[in-house]
């Protein structure tokens, strides 16, 4: 489904070169629910941006759904994002001027669906997240959990094969976080591949597979996971300190 081979991403400024990802390798199978954890600055966001075709990378090979997407132009990558990928963000990122239905409709507009098709999909997506009755509300009239569910509906409306979630519960209290997580699990049940970046170790544990990114590289801890949780957090802290130190210079 998703395959990254030796991906590197280097940010250059006049003074320093920062390796956000180095020789990053990852394979995700169809239907998997993968949780990605790692300290801040480890390269999680860069990984997510590359996986979501929001950013290019310096070297390596990336294929999605069996198609090489390493060097797509803007139009094609926009098309892939639109058709195959759904995004869920920590800050929900709903467009405040648009009501719920219109927010969910946005990707369908760019997809070029006709009116009837758009309406059908918007209704079913909102149905799925339990907010069909509030279609005409503006995002600001909703609670955080509800907003995130709208964002999920928006991601689902395009019926993507592949869902990218960036700290989807980061701005939510624990009750709402659990609801959202359950929703994601349901979606995963229907066959949608999900990659979720999170800080929350508890949430991460609920995923089928855990990946830790440290210093721009994958440490697949799935084998350690059950064995020694404390080792993981030690490593995490160490990496965090190391990163903090390196960003100082």
């Amino acid at each position: 489904m998703l395959s990254m081979k030796n991906i590197s991403k280097v940010f250059k400024t006049d003074l320093v070169e920062t390796h956000a990802l180095r020789d990053f390798n990852l394979e995700v199978e169809e239907g998997e629910f993968v949780a990605v954890t790692g300290p801040s600055g480890s390269g999680k966001t860069t990984f997510l941006n590359i996986a979501g075709l929001l950013e290019g990378f310096t070297s390596g090979e990336f294929s999605l759904d069996g198609v090489n997407v390493s060097n797509l132009n803007d139009n094609l990558s926009a098309k892939v994002r639109n058709e195959k990928i759904g995004f869920i963000f920590q800050g929900f990122n709903l467009i405040p001027d648009l009501n719920l239905a219109e927010n969910v409709e946005v990707p369908l507009r760019y997809r070029g669906f006709n009116r009837a098709e758009r309406q059908r999909r918007v209704e079913s997506a909102l149905e799925q997240v339990g907010l069909a009755a509030r279609m005409k509300h503006l995002p600001t009239q909703l609670s955080g959990g509800q907003q995130q569910r709208v964002a999920i509906a928006r991601a689902l409306a395009g019926e993507p094969r592949f869902l990218l979630a960036d700290e989807p519960t980061g701005n939510l209290d624990s009750l709402m976080a659990r609801q959202v997580m359950e929703l994601l699990e349901n979606i995963n049940q229907t066959g949608t591949t999900i990659i979720m970046v999170t800080h929350d170790a508890e949430l991460a544990r609920r995923a089928q597979r855990n990946i830790q990114i440290v210093d721009g590289q994958v440490c697949d801890f799935s084998m350690y996971q059950k064995a020694d949780q404390s080792l993981v957090s030690d490593l995490t802290q160490a990496a965090g300190l190391q990163k903090a130190a390196s960003s100082d210079c």
């Binding site: 966001t45 941006n49 979501g52 929001l54 950013e55 803007d74 139009n75 926009a78 098309k79 994002r81 639109n82 058709e83 990928i85 995004f87 963000f89 920590q90 800050g91 990122n93 709903l94 467009i95 001027d97 648009l98 946005v106 990707p107 507009r109 760019y110 997809r111 070029g112 928006r154 395009g158 960036d166 700290e167 980061g170 701005n171």
Partner: protein
């Protein structure tokens, strides 16, 4: 998709009403001023001769002495006009000047009026394509055997003859009876291209009489008489014999051949006149001593469009560019503020081109509204010019072309102003704005 963009644009415009109003205000004022000056310029620089512009030619002669006038005079002398009239190589030709006469009819109830009168030849009507309502120009023989015949305008016909066919009736000019041979159908070219020398936007005369009558009737000259040397002018004959310039001469040239034929005739003419002691400025060769001006050149040489107007057009274009820069800044401000939203749209699958289009549609709508408001400003300003400064309606009336030019300028101004901000905003990296706000 376009309608979707329009919908988004309209929401965005409504969301920041002050900023949107400011932009519409800026663009509309810029447009208003530009269209006002452009309208006046366009109507003033209009060439009423249309495709006949190259065919209708007036002749200027360098008959002045050495070190006198620096330019060709628009008018020429009576001697030269008579000689040109006798040039049989020319097809259509007409001498002309303006006079004024008191007009009366057989109707004693109408007070005499002092009317501006054109003294000219029968070909004048063909050269300038003057339309007739009744009758026709006087016969060609009248150009050599003067007769008291007259062509009047529709308006005058209305006043004195209730708009009836008055051909064959008599009017009195300075108490002399003239027989009406033709009535001109509403004809008032603006600018008055056949004689812009006494007010380029004055109305056309309503009375036309045969040229050769001037010698017998000694019509006053209502126009410029210029001399470059001292010549006493005590009698009308003095005027006719003098080197003073006060007449125009027109001819219709079918093609380049006829033009070069006229050129060689004029060269020979100047040479011949030099033998008679005229055309004394020997610094000019005979070939340099005449000028054949088509209508375009003629209008330009007679400064039909005042310099002020050109300065105004230039300054208003600069003004518009200030408005443009102003809007550019405001748009940049506004669009950058919306960068997070663009980030979301990009992540969801909008291509750069789609984002760019979305913002250009918004800019276009602002431009369009600005154009409409600007047209209103221009209309107001032109009405003001008409009312306060007695400017002719023919100049202050909104030219039909402005309905196309205005939105065109407005939208292109907005688009030029919008390209950079829209480009900047569509280039922003979506990932930057997607992290927690």
């Amino acid at each position: 998709m376009f309608l979707y963009y329009c919908d988004l644009a309209w929401r965005s415009i409504k969301k920041t009403p002050m900023l949107s109003m400011l932009m519409v205000l800026a663009i509309s004022i810029g447009i208003g001023i530009t269209i006002t000056t452009l309208n006046v310029y366009k109507t003033m620089s209009y060439n009423p001769a249309g495709e006949r512009s190259d065919n209708i030619n007036s002749i200027q002669l360098w008959s002045q002495g050495l070190d006198t006038w620096d330019d060709f005079q628009s008018n020429i002398t009576y001697t030269d006009v008579i000689n040109l009239r006798n040039n049989n190589e020319l097809g259509l030709k007409a001498a002309t000047f303006r006079t004024g006469l008191a007009m009366q009819s057989d109707d004693p109830n109408i007070d005499p009026i002092l009317e501006s009168v054109r003294v000219t030849d029968s070909d004048f009507f063909s050269i300038f394509d003057v339309p007739f309502l009744y009758g026709n120009a006087w016969d060609k023989t009248v150009d050599s055997q003067p007769a008291y015949q007259v062509v009047i305008g529709e308006k005058l016909n209305q006043t004195f003859f209730d708009g009836q066919n008055s051909v064959g009736k008599t009017i009195y000019l300075n108490r002399k009876p003239y027989q009406i041979v033709g009535v001109i159908k509403e004809w008032n070219p603006q600018p008055k291209y056949y004689d812009p020398l006494n007010g380029a936007f004055n109305d056309a005369e309503e009375i036309f009489i045969p040229f050769l009558l001037a010698e017998q009737e000694e019509f006053d000259v209502w126009g410029n008489t210029s001399g470059w040397k001292f010549e006493p002018m005590l009698t009308y004959q003095d005027r006719l014999n003098s080197e003073k310039t006060w007449l125009q001469f027109w001819t219709f040239l079918e093609n380049e051949d006829q033009k070069s034929q006229l050129e060689s005739w004029l060269s020979r003419y100047v040479e011949q006149q030099r033998n008679f002691g005229r055309f004394t400025d020997t610094a000019k060769t005979p070939a340099e001593s005449f000028q054949i001006s088509n209508i375009e050149l003629w209008l330009e040489n007679n400064d039909v469009v005042p310099e002020d107007n050109k300065v105004l057009v230039g300054l208003s274009v600069l003004f518009l560019s200030v408005c443009l820069v102003n809007i550019l800044g405001l748009l940049l401000t506004k669009f950058l503020k919306r960068a997070p939203e663009v980030g979301v749209r990009r992540a969801i699958g909008a291509s750069r081109a789609q984002i760019f289009s979305q913002y250009m549609v918004e800019v276009g709508i602002i431009g369009f509204i600005g154009g409409i408001v600007g047209l209103l400003w221009a209309w107001g300003a032109l009405s003001m010019l008409h009312a306060e400064f007695n400017m002719k309606e023919s100049v202050t009336g909104l030219d039909a072309s402005m309905w196309i030019i205005t939105p065109l300028i407005a939208i292109s101004t907005a688009i030029i102003a919008g390209i950079y901000p829209a480009w900047v905003v569509c280039r922003t990296k979506p990932s930057v704005y997607l992290k927690a706000q």
